[in-house]
Amino acid sequence: MTIRNKAAIVGIGQTEFSKNSGRSTHRMALEAILGALDDAGLEPAEIDGMVKMGANDDVFEIDLLRSLGLDNLRFFAEIPHGGGAACGTIAGAVAAVTAGMADVVVTFRALNERSERRFGESTVGGGIGGWMQYNMPHGLVTPAQWIAMYAQRYLHEYGHTTEEFGRVSVLTRKHAATNPHAMMYERPVTLEEHQSSRWITEPLRLLDCCLDTDGACATVVVSAEKAKSLKGTPAYIAAAAQGTGTRSEMMTSYQRKNIARLEEAETTGKELYRVAEIEPKDIDVAEIYDHFTPMVLMALEAYGFAKPGEAPKLFQNGALELDGEMPLNTHGGHLGEGYLHGFGHIVEGVRQIRGTAVNQASNVKTCLVTSGTGVPTSGIILSQEAY
């Protein structure tokens, strides 16, 4: 028995994405959740479950419960490991509704990541424990720097240059440029602009790094049975999975045999395809987590769309363009639309399944959405049909 198509995302909501929201994450989470409920045709009082992301969050389910005037949640959970958790919240919601532990589960992410707490700024002072004690005393203090170790090794293993990273940036910004919701709307970049953008931490340049964003997104997950009684088009969840790899650490799994491969994404992908009973070639559109461009290449390889080291070819032969075999990051991703820690990708995946995206791919039956890489991760496969 699997969870294949036993649950669906029936509502999505989001605020504007900006550099300064001018309001609290608590308020933005509520706005996104009310939007998602309205989209689904459900009332706030029908919520009986919530799943949130754990890292750097200051909005708790009890805060939202209080604001919404609700008394009881039957199911609530928090998924760990930063951006790796985004699709994991959907997995948790699916587990709850298919097990009968909740009927209407809300998942959300709300960040003032630009105007309040920027993840790219390092913590100063205090004693360092856990995984960071091995890195921070030596000056390896930000996500870009941790990821740079994987990126440098990827270049070395396969003999690539940073132009391969640049093509990820160019394609993603191209899609953002035609998305009015995107922070980089009407602001495409060229490969030359990528190559001349300033170094952040070699081999990563400014245009290899995601944006800093204020905003919120939310989804509503119910059983496939309940979805039939609602007004909207459900995005059935053909699979939802989390994954880890050998010698996993939070962001610095440097002891494993080959750090130019994303073991967590490989294990997550295998489980997704097993549960959905499809193969990578059956995916019509992909929303791949893009905090840093090299990780998009490595993720495309891990999820089976290219052999190790060969993802750059997909950017050279047009396969990932809107009219290509499998359009990629149609909303403009973290590099162009905004950084909602993987939630913008989920919301866009639902729109692609519904056929309502600004940059709509044609004939979409299935969509792969993936979450943060270089960390324990998660993914979902959305389907138009409950096959």
Partner: protein
């Protein structure tokens, strides 16, 4: 530079001996008493045989650069840019993060032979890597 507030490892019941040894300029790793597996990061159990028994062994301090980053954008007051952080594969097996200093540190190459030297920061001496002429 070395007087600025560099993050200090606080150590815990597993990792304190690792940092205490470094205060005496000794780089140490855990070796399983049952199967001789050398493990890192520090942890209570051998992932190969699940033994809790281990001893601390002293590293030769020699290794090769496995990956690196040259940090150009400053985010922390203790770390003036540019500086290079390397992931070094040690002779004993573990890969260790530390700054790379000396000739070629501004444009390192993967595979370069390096060795440990020590820098006495106020609260916690730390290893850095420098090119190892004898190895290369």
């Amino acid at each position: 530079m070395q007087d600025l507030p560099r993050p200090v490892p606080r150590g815990d019941r597993d990792t304190a001996p690792f940092w205490e040894a470094q205060r005496e300029h000794r780089l140490t790793f855990q070796r399983c008493s049952n199967c001789n597996e050398v493990r890192y990061p520090v942890g209570p159990m051998c992932p190969e045989c699940r033994s809790f028994e281990f001893e601390w062994i002293e590293s030769s301090g020699r290794g090769t650069v496995y990956s690196f980053t040259v940090v150009r954008h400053q985010t922390h007051p203790a770390f003036a840019v540019p500086y290079t952080v390397a992931l070094v594969e040690m002779e004993e097996g573990p890969r260790l993060i530390a700054e790379l200093k000396g000739d070629g540190a501004a444009s390192p190459e993967i595979g370069t032979a390096v060795k440990v030297e020590w820098v006495d920061h106020p609260k916690q001496p730390l290893p850095v890597f420098v090119p190892d002429q004898e190895q290369s």
